[in-house]
Structure formats: C-alpha cells, structure tokens
C-alpha cells in the first residue's frame, strides 16, 4: 500500500490509527492519506517527546513503547499519566497552538506517529472529522468537571470574564 506521494505505508500502522478515537469516522483510505501527511518518530528511553513550555503544533499517536506525562512542581515532577500504544497526546495543542503544559518522557524506547496541523489540514474533510472528534474529547473532559462540581464552572466564568457558552 502507498500514500498519496507513492511512499510505502505500513498496513499495521493503518490498523493502529483505525482504533484511535480521534480518528473515528475516517475511512481506511483517509487513514492512509493521514499517514502520508504524518511522520514517524523514534524516541529512546528517558528522552523527551517534548518539554513543558515548548511551543506546540502537533499531536502524537503512540505505536510502541511506554511514556509518561509529567508536570513540574516545586520539588520535581508529578506523574499525570502513562501512555501506551494506541493512545494520543497533544491534541489540545493542535487546536489552540499554545505551549505544552506538561512534558512527555519515554520510559521505554517509543515509536509514535507525529501529526501537525498543516499535515492534518491538507484534507479539509479529514481535518473536519478529526477536529470534531478532538472537540468531543475535550468537551467530555469539560463535562467531567461540571458533573463533578459545577461550582468550578462558576469560578471559570468569573476568571475568564466571558459568558459561558452553555451546554
């Protein structure tokens, strides 16, 4: 199988992407196109995918290995999550293009697919589906807060000095 540029595509990678919630709704052909717009990265154990504070414009899909998400605290780093094959990280950065709020460090040698917004938007149809999925993922997390404690939303409304959009 080849991508739109005639490069060989690993069929197993297409299968991995097909199981990722962010890419739900994409056809196999669209996943092949997406892989053609992405790059494959290998990060050795104990090296960083990216550091806290780095400028950001890409998401990663883990294919092999294990990595941890860590946030700086006063006396070191706090573990936020462990990432395994099939999981993604950095999707918020693709849409809001802000700096990384945490670092991601490989604890075993890792292989991942890196996708930036330019590559994603090379097909508007694919990008619309992926952005909708990213919006749904983030919305679910926002709802998690409101379900747990809707007073936080009131605080946010005051902090952001803008009206909440509502449900």
């Amino acid at each position: 199988m080849t991508d739109s540029r005639g490069h060989a595509i690993d069929d197993s990678l297409v299968t991995v992407l097909g199981k990722v919630p962010l890419f739900a709704g994409l056809s196999r052909l669209q996943l092949v196109f997406l892989l053609g717009a992405a790059s494959r990265v290998v990060i050795p154990a104990d090296q960083l995918f990216f550091d806290e504070g780095d400028s950001a414009d890409s998401l990663y899909v883990f294919v092999a290995g294990e990595a941890v998400v860590e946030k700086r605290i006063t006396n070191g780093w706090r573990l936020l999550a462990t990432l395994r094959p099939g999981q993604t990280v950095g999707e918020m950065a693709v849409v809001d293009r802000s700096t990384r709020s945490a670092r991601v460090r490989a604890i075993k040698s890792c292989v991942a697919i890196r996708l930036d917004s330019a590559g994603l938007e090379s097909s508007q149809e694919i990008a619309a589906t992926v952005y909708r999925n990213i919006a749904a993922t983030i919305t679910a997390r926002v709802r998690g807060y409101t379900d747990a404690d809707d007073r936080r939303l009131e605080q946010l409304s005051l902090a952001a000095d803008r009206p909440l959009g509502g449900s």
């Binding site: 918020m92 849409v95 809001d96 802000s98 709020s101 938007e121 508007q124 149809e125 990008a127 619309a128 952005y131 909708r132 990213i134 919006a135 749904a136 983030i138 919305t139 679910a140 997390r141 926002v142 709802r143 807060y145 409101t146 809707d150 936080r152 939303l153 009131e154 605080q155 946010l156 409304s157 902090a159 952001a160 803008r162 009206p163 909440l164 959009g165 509502g166 449900s167």
Partner: protein, 151 residues
C-alpha cells in the same frame, strides 16, 4: 421560541460584519460567512422565554445577534445563573458537539434574535466545518486549561 420561515434570503451587510466578529467564526472568509447565514435560521425569543430547556436535545449552535441570554443551571434552591451571553457570542456548543441533553437552560433576559445552525448542515461544507470545529475545540481547550488550573 419563534423561528422565521426558511433561511434569510436578503444578505444583510451588517449581519456579515457581525458574524465576522464572532470568535467561533474566526478564520472564515466572507463567502463562508454568507454560507453560514444561508445555512442558519433566525430565531426570535421574547423576554423570559427559553432558547432551550435543561434536558432537551437540540444539536443546534446559537449565535446571538441582539438581546441577552442567561445560561442557568437548576439547583435544589432554584435556577442559578452561570453566565450571560451577549451579542456576538455563540452558545450551546457543548450539546452541538456531543449531542447530549442540555444540562442548563438558555433564557432570554430581553427580546433576543439569534441565528441557529443545525449540526447536519455542516456535513455539506468541509471547509466551513473544519474551521468551526477547530475553533470550538480551541475554545473548549482553553476552558479545560482554566478548569485544570482552578482545580
């Protein structure tokens, strides 16, 4: 809620200018904004009437043009206002994205005019939906980052 019959046929320059200032439409061209206007319905809601009630499923994004809308959540002591939407802002974007029932209600605090965009209309315009979904995701992302900081 009173919905005008069909889509607005007369393109109002002031309306296009108003939509160009809506943060969710940032990045859309004039042609794409005209597409939005033609894909939406105009909705007029009288003071104290509802755009939607808690528990309803609407899959509609509202863009407020004139008036004011209070977003309220039911508590054991009655309705608590979470925020007020002013002209130029969109509301109901969470339910628009995930199609779940509203957890709040949207009440007009004065007679209000809004455009309503149904989700299904976007499937025919990938260029518009790409920008709109990206902007909604970015807005939710900012909200989540703030919630993470507060917690």
């Amino acid at each position: 809620m009173e919905t005008t019959v069909g889509s607005p046929k007369v393109l109002d320059d002031a309306l296009i200018r108003a939509l160009s200032r809506v943060n969710l439409f940032e990045g859309l061209s004039r042609t794409q904004l005209i597409w939005i206007i033609n894909a939406t319905s105009r909705v007029v809601v009288d003071t104290d009437k509802l755009f939607y009630d808690s528990g309803e499923v609407t899959e509609v994004l509202f863009i407020l043009i004139t008036g004011g809308v209070a977003i309220e959540k039911k508590t054991k002591n009655g309705w608590r206002m979470l925020g007020e939407t002013s002209p130029g802002h969109a509301f109901a974007e969470l339910a628009f994205i995930d199609s779940r029932p509203h957890t709040t209600r949207a009440r007009a605090v004065s007679k209000s005019l809004a455009l309503s965009l149904h989700k299904y209309r976007l499937s025919s315009a990938h260029d518009v939906s790409m920008v709109l979904y990206r902007n909604i995701a970015a807005m939710q992302s900012q909200r989540l980052r703030q919630l993470n900081e507060i917690s």
